[in-house]
């Protein structure tokens, strides 16, 4: 029983967590549509609504990894569809840079994902989450998180 | 028994005798009596129509005045005659000046107040398909025909009594009721080459070959038509296609009336089988419809 208990505990610790920043106008709406269409995807994802992906600061992403998130998704309108003209364009630029920077922190750059999901793309949203969850599962918990847990133990 | 005036047309006495004869027999089987118009003349067919418009109206006009005397509706089996007679009637109706001119020429009132109808339409309208089904003695179940109207019956718009002049369906329905496995195809109203048969045989061979290819592609084992010219072109030019395009087609061609007679078990159907240039016996034998 004790053994089982620890196994369960371990499982829980091994269990991954994904944080998604969704822009209000396209991707959040796309996620809504996935819901309305009852498309199923794994429940490992929590989302934060922002008005525009342009507002997602690199700091948020680093903070998320520090807090023990294993994968971060940033999803916004397709290029050219931005409600605010070019916010997503800025984001794309910033994310490219950030992916490289993550390596420096010892985080695989696959843990950060940028996707364009329109309000009509419920199916795309669901499949992005499915795919990303698989990918992060394969990568396992974030190295940062392990560090933190280690530190906490010590 | 319903009686109609009947315009046989030239070829039904000679090159399409099987059509002329089977039409009368089939009609009678289905309760329709066809009374031949007295002393009718050739409608002029394509040649008149293509070279002298007035002639192409005046020739059938004489037949129409005879039909007017006979009274009632006029039934036609040949697609070309049907086309010419019907268009002459229509043109004169729409153009009284033309009618007057023609009246002078033929020396009789050319206005025909009856309806000119193709035998296929007459049969399909007077028939209850379920009843027909029950009367079938030899179901054509091994036959996989495609229906072929050709252009003369289907055009111009409004000639056919069916709404969809691009994809008429009466013949399909009739054949299906006789037990055949009718194949859909997109060539029902394509032209067979018409009167170019003797003069530009090359052109006709090409068109006919195309039809055979399409029929085969559609999975058909025979073609059924209502036009003597189509049948003649299809049969005459089948072998030539073999030479020119290096493919062998062996697809018999029937008049729809022959198949009615055959399916209803009337032995006279046998008589006409020998008249086909493409021998239908092997197919019918295989289908258990002929000995």
């Amino acid at each position: 029983m004790n053994k089982e208990g620890t196994a369960e505990k371990k499982d829980e610790r091994e269990e991954i967590k994904i944080l998604a920043f969704l822009c209000n106008w396209c991707s959040y709406a796309g996620a809504d549509l996935a819901g309305v269409s009852r498309l199923q995807y794994p429940a490992k994802v929590l989302d934060v609504r922002v008005m525009c992906t342009g507002t997602v600061s690199p700091y948020f992403i680093i903070k998320a990894f520090q807090e023990g998130i294993d994968g971060v998704l940033v999803a916004g309108c397709h290029i050219g569809d931005c409600h605010y003209l070019k916010g997503n364009y800025m984001t794309a630029k910033r994310m490219r840079f950030l992916k490289e920077a993550l390596n420096v922190f010892g985080i695989e750059k696959e843990r950060l994902r940028l996707e364009w999901v329109s309000a009509a793309e419920g199916e795309k949203f669901a499949s992005v989450i499915r795919d990303f969850t698989e990918q992060i599962k394969a990568l396992g918990p974030s190295p940062l998180r392990k560090d933190r847990e280690e530190v906490a133990k010590v | 028994m319903k009686e109609y005036s009947y315009f046989p047309g030239c070829s039904q006495g000679s090159s399409a005798r099987e059509y002329g004869e089977s039409a009368i027999v089939a009609a009678r089987e289905l309760g329709i009596e066809l009374a031949e118009l007295e002393d009718w003349n050739c409608c002029g067919a394509s040649s008149a129509h293509m070279t002298n418009h007035l002639l192409s109206v005046a020739l059938p006009a004489r037949d129409l005045s005879i039909a007017q005397n006979a009274g009632g509706d006029l039934v036609v089996v040949c697609a070309a005659c049907y086309n010419r007679l019907k268009l002459a009637q229509k043109e004169m109706k729409e153009n009284p000046q033309l009618a007057a001119q023609v009246e002078k020429i033929i020396g009789a009132d050319p206005r025909f107040s009856g309806e000119i109808r193709h035998l296929l339409d007459v049969i399909m309208d007077s028939l209850d398909l379920d009843e027909l089904k029950s009367r079938v003695k030899k179901p054509l179940s091994e036959l996989k025909p495609v229906s072929y109207y050709g252009c003369l019956m289907a055009r111009p718009k409004g000639l056919l009594e069916e709404v969809n002049y691009e994809n008429p369906e009466k013949m399909d329905k009739l054949l299906a009721a006789l037990g055949a496995e009718v194949k859909p195809w997109s060539y029902k109203t394509d032209c067979c080459g018409g009167s170019l048969s003797l003069t530009r045989t090359d052109v006709v061979v090409r068109l006919v070959n195309r039809l055979y290819e399409a029929a085969e592609e559609a999975g058909a084992n025979c073609i059924v038509t209502a036009c003597p010219m189509c049948l003649a072109n299809l049969e005459m030019r089948q072998a030539e296609g073999t030479l020119q395009f290096k493919v062998v087609h062996e697809i018999p061609v029937f008049f729809f009336t022959e198949l009615i007679v055959l399916a209803l078990g009337n032995p006279r159907a046998e008589e006409w089988l020998g008249k086909h240039l493409v021998n239908p016996r092997p197919l019918l034998k295989k289908a258990g419809l002929a000995s």
Partner: protein, 1052 residues
């Protein structure tokens, strides 16, 4: 059937509302929170401040939104079960390829949540009695059998309904059930029952839906009834019906499964369509590789009595080809066409890009008919290749570009008239005005037109209604009255959490009691409870009560999506005396219960953390003030052409003073050169009438020989400096600017123009024609050359008007001199819409059209007495034709005004690559700029005809009026703010703001946000290295708290 369950989003404070608030004592009783109707004023007796809009497509939606913003109560009637029209079915839209639903659905939500728009579905207009300003409209309302106020759109009934029906939303390509919500984004988002197919109605038993509907929304007792509505004006926006391709039997639609209509194809392309955007064909679900489009099916066709061009199909076929390639790069689209009509703004570029770079194959010449291969169900098409050789090619699928037909159910008995095709007839220069005063028209129901043109006309129609009813503005609007806002700034957070079950939608999958218990453990949460339907009307009362009783100062609702429901709860909170920004939502339905139905435990766990994240954020929420700025109710119009004058008059008619600035000595602009309109009306008379009206209008001040030299301020309060020819300067103050500075004619030296007196422009011909300067015996023959200075490398746009102009002048010429032969040398004839009738008439009259290929411009030389034009005739495979002529007329193009280069930076608005002004949004905001308070119309925007310029002018005026009619502009609370003490002065944000809302204060060396310009996107905050720039409502610390809460998930 009212749809009034959503909250209202009121971002305006208007005069009438203010008066009303002043008069009533402001103690927060419950009655007070009820809506109060303001008594109509005495002036303008007999007019009603309400408008009915018939048809809820994009044009009807735009008209409705404009009308409420202009201060009128709106009844939006649709014959279907939801608004949205055809645009709601489209996948993407040309020429920007934007997602159609993404841009439409926010507008639909806006309609749904506005208290002053009553949506009446399943209804048709039976009669319109009375006079303009005071109509009584009789509606026939069909029963929906579902109470829209109760239905939550959960879809439980659909799952249990035994009757399968083809889904009209998917153009019949897929099946749905008899009872259903029409489509996910439908407004109202409620189910309906079609009695014709319902088993209960046809067989007398079933009622499965009644059994499963927890909201008790189904009501089989509803009856068809008629209803009378009193309004001051009516706008007909009934759109179009698609052509039935069975009428062209040669294409085998309905016989061959892989021949489909463009509307069906649009659904196949749709990510939310029957195949989820996979490019597969109906017969066997096989991926499509070879795809063909056949144009003009049911358009430009005498034999089916559609002698008009449907205007949009050339472009949508191009769009569908591009999108198909986007979905499946290997697909090979081919478009068979007669003329490619890429006439609108940026259309030519779109078409050229598709043809030259994206591999869309365009083949001129229609296929005559379609044949099918029986085994593969592939389709055989015969066409002539560019060498004139016959080809037969197999395609996997064929799309028929079906035309647009008149709407159904709009009849002359309504006092209007229909044209010979059945479209709603309108006045020659004012296409939005029917023959009946007070009844306006817009959208594709008046003439086939695309979305931007429909939207433009909708605004124009709304503006016209306002000109009629402006004295009754606000008289019938309902206004919420708010108790004073409680100051909670000093208090510690007291968070209330409401968890909604949504019947079983949430409750069936998420363990709601568990989430409630969990919520109670969260910091600062003083109240947590569940509710079966949190959005129902009685729940709002309950919320107000607990907010008061429990002394809550933050509210979290865990239910469905904030995109539709946040405004409602914010409104409720506000009526409870709490600032509406102290509210947060957790979406545990769309983002949780519905997508994790198979793992309820994990779903419940996720719901807990979604609630926790919301609570964490809520604890940090601060009340935000909505900004207010004054509006100077005056307008500045730049340019005194037809567009500028119409805009000025429209505003003056609605009671607003206008400054009209014209740089020339006289008004009139380009139109002074045009004699006859396409409808044959005398433009000179129209123009002099117009100038006369403008000059006599006391509310319009005309500044001639003047130009704008400087513009300051922002929406509501601009200051502009204008200078006249003598250098005199005037400073003007106004709330809006309308840019109508026009365009100009292309100056050419091609084809001996300027070198030989027999070579004229169309304008010169028109002049000569109307002055009688053309002696008949000298002109046996006239040749016209099209596209002079258009559609070439230097000018990659179509000038839109010149095909019609040439045809029009040719007809005029032929009427005056029947013996004269006229030849028009062209590349494509672009007589779109009803202009096609002119083209047809020209051919009928014997005017000869000669087509030449791109890159084969005609040559002109002098031969003896005559001019000789040599042209390589494309129809004859490039055979050269020599035409000796007495006159050569050039159809020269329209160029942008050079002044634009100088105006654009002054107004802080963009130009496109061609030098025309670039509007805020090509599709849905065709006359707005992204800079608030500035509008555009006429040739300044793009080439267009007179009537189109007038449409746009009246539309721009109406859009401007939505601002001028407000006393104050209320700006969103969610805007950026720079904490000056932290700002390092790096100016990163200043450069990045897409709306130029941040400026740099040179004295204090800090960035400053102008909250009137800021749109709250947050781009600036992401780059601020000092963390000085924050976006209210999405503050850094708030998001960090959400991240932290998420980080602790699954374990804490």
């Amino acid at each position: 059937m009212a749809t009034k369950r959503k909250g209202k989003k009121d971002d305006t404070v208007d005069r009438a509302a203010r008066n009303a608030t002043k008069e009533s004592p402001s103690s927060a009783t419950e009655e007070e929170t009820e809506k109060a109707i303001v008594e109509p004023e005495k002036e303008g007796e007999g007019l009603l401040g309400a408008v009915m809009v018939v048809g809820g497509g994009v044009s009807g939606i735009q008209a409705s939104l404009d009308l409420v913003n202009l201060g009128y109560k709106v009844y939006l009637v649709d014959s279907g079960p939801s608004i949205g029209g055809v645009m709601g079915m489209l996948d993407k839209t040309f020429p920007t390829n934007e997602c159609s639903m993404c841009i439409l659905s926010p507008k639909m939500v806006e309609v749904a949540s506005n208290d002053n728009i009553e949506v009446i579905t399943l209804a048709e207009v039976e009669g319109i009695e009375g006079e303009k300003g005071d109509f009584t409209v009789t509606l026939k309302v069909k029963p929906r059998y579902v109470d829209v106020n109760k239905c939550t759109g959960c879809g439980d009934c659909t799952a249990k309904c035994p009757v399968k029906v083809p889904d009209p939303y998917n153009a019949g390509l897929s099946f749905t059930r008899n009872i259903r919500v029409p489509f996910p984004q439908a407004v109202p988002g409620a189910a309906f029952i079609d009695p014709l197919t319902c088993r209960y109605f046809t067989k007398g038993k079933c009622q499965n839906c009644v059994k499963v509907c927890q909201a008790k929304a189904i009501d089989f007792d509803q009856k068809e009834h008629s209803r009378e509505v009193k309004v001051g004006a009516v706008i007909l926006a009934a759109g179009f019906s698609p052509f039935d391709p069975r009428l062209k039997p040669e294409y085998g639609y309905g016989v061959y499964p892989n021949v489909i209509t463009s509307l069906e194809f649009e659904r196949i392309l749709g990510a939310n369509g029957p195949t989820s955007g996979h490019l597969v064909r109906p017969s066997d679900g096989k991926e499509v590789q070879k795809l063909a489009f056949i144009q003009c099916v049911g358009s430009r066709d005498t034999t089916v009595k559609r002698d008009y061009c449907s205007s949009v199909c050339c472009m949508y076929a191009t769009k569908q080809s591009l999108i198909a390639k986007e979905h499946l790069p290997t697909v090979q689209p081919t478009i068979f066409y007669i003329d490619i009509r890429a006439y609108g703004k940026d259309f030519e570029r779109y078409y050229q890009n598709a043809a030259k770079r994206q591999g869309v194959r365009y083949i001129r010449g229609l296929v005559s008919g379609i044949r099918e291969r029986q085994r593969s169900k592939n389709l055989l098409l015969r066409y002539l290749d560019e060498k004139g050789c016959m080809q037969e090619e197999e395609f996997d699928m064929v799309v028929l570009s079906i035309g647009l037909e008149p709407p159904r159910g709009i009849k002359p008995e309504l006092g209007i008239s229909l044209d010979s095709f059945g479209f709603i007839q309108s006045e020659p220069f004012e296409s939005f005005q029917t023959i009946r005063e007070g009844v306006m028209v817009c959208g594709a129901g008046q003439e086939p037109r695309d979305i931007p043109d429909s939207v433009t006309q909708a605004s124009a129609a709304a503006g016209k209604a306002s000109q009629l009813l402006h004295s009754k503005r606000y008289s019938l609007l309902t206004h919420a009255e708010y108790p004073p806002e409680k100051d909670v700034s000093g208090e510690p957070p007291r968070v209330g959490v409401i968890i909604c079950r949504c019947g079983s939608n949430i409750g069936g999958f998420v363990n709601v009691p568990e989430v409630v218990e969990y919520a109670k453990t969260l910091p600062d949460v003083v109240f947590a409870e569940e509710r079966i339907y949190a959005c129902s009307q009685d729940a709002q009362e309950w919320i107000r009560q607990i907010v008061r009783e429990r002394n809550l100062n933050r509210l979290v609702v865990a239910s469905c999506t904030p995109r539709t429901h946040q405004p409602l709860f914010q409104e409720t909170l506000r009526t409870a005396g709490i600032n509406k920004y102290l509210f947060e939502m957790a979406n545990i339905r769309e983002h949780c219960s519905w997508v994790h139905m198979q793992e309820p435990e994990e779903g419940t766990r996720k719901a807990r953390y979604l609630v926790k994240m919301a609570v964490e954020k809520a604890r940090l929420l601060q009340p935000l003030a909505e900004g207010e700025s004054e509006v100077v109710p005056k307008a500045l119009v730049l340019g005194g052409g037809i567009a500028g004058m119409n805009a000025a008059l429209a505003l003056a008619n609605s009671g607003f003073p206008v400054f009209l600035v014209e740089k020339e000595e006289e008004l009139g602009g380009t139109a002074r050169n045009i004699r006859i309109s396409q409808h044959g009306e005398d433009v000179k008379i129209y123009l002099s009438d117009l100038i006369d009206k403008v000059e006599r209008e006391p509310l319009i001040t005309v500044f001639k020989s003047s130009k704008l030299v400087e513009l300051g301020g922002f929406v509501g309060k601009f200051q502009s400096l204008i200078r006249d020819a003598d250098g005199r300067e005037t400073l003007l103050e106004h709330g809006v600017v309308i840019v109508a500075t026009g365009g100009k004619i292309h100056q050419t030296d091609e084809y001996l123009y300027g070198n030989d007196p027999r070579v004229l422009t169309q304008w010169e011909l028109e002049d000569a024609l109307s002055n009688g300067e053309l002696p008949e015996r000298n002109i046996e023959r006239v040749v016209m050359i099209q596209c002079v200075g258009s559609r070439d490398d230097e000018h990659p746009w179509c000038s839109k008007v010149c095909c019609t102009e040439a045809v029009k002048n040719a007809i005029k010429l032929k009427e005056s001199f029947p013996a004269t032969d006229v030849y028009i040398l062209y590349r494509d004839i672009r007589t779109y819409g009803f202009r096609e009738e002119l083209y047809q008439r020209a051919r009928e009259m014997g005017i000869t059209f000669v087509r030449f290929e791109d890159g084969h411009k005609p040559q002109v030389r002098r031969v003896g007495e005559k001019l000789q034009v040599l042209v390589d005739d494309a129809a004859l495979m490039g055979e050269r034709i020599a035409i000796n002529t007495d006159l050569l007329v050039l159809s020269v193009g329209i160029m942008p005004n050079e002044d634009n280069r100088e105006l654009a930076p002054m107004l802080k608005v963009p130009l496109n690559a061609d030098g025309f002004f670039l509007e805020a949004h090509m599709k849905l905001r065709p006359v707005d700029f992204s800079t608030d308070g500035i509008f555009v119309c006429g040739l300044a925007h793009a080439p267009k005809s007179i009537d189109e310029s007038i449409n746009q002018a009246v539309a721009a005026a109406a859009r401007a009026e939505t601002i001028l009619s407000k006393e104050k502009i209320i700006t969103e609370g969610i805007v950026a703010r720079v904490a000056e003490e932290l700002c390092s002065g790096c100016r990163a944000c200043v450069q990045l703001c897409p709306f130029e809302a941040i400026s740099f204060d040179q004295d204090r060396k800090v960035a400053v946000v102008n909250r009137s310009l800021c749109k709250g996107c947050g781009t600036c905050t992401a780059v601020c290295t000092a963390g000085a720039n924050v976006i209210q409502g999405f503050r850094f610390d708030q998001i960090i708290k959400q991240i932290e809460a998420a980080g602790k998930a699954w374990s804490g």
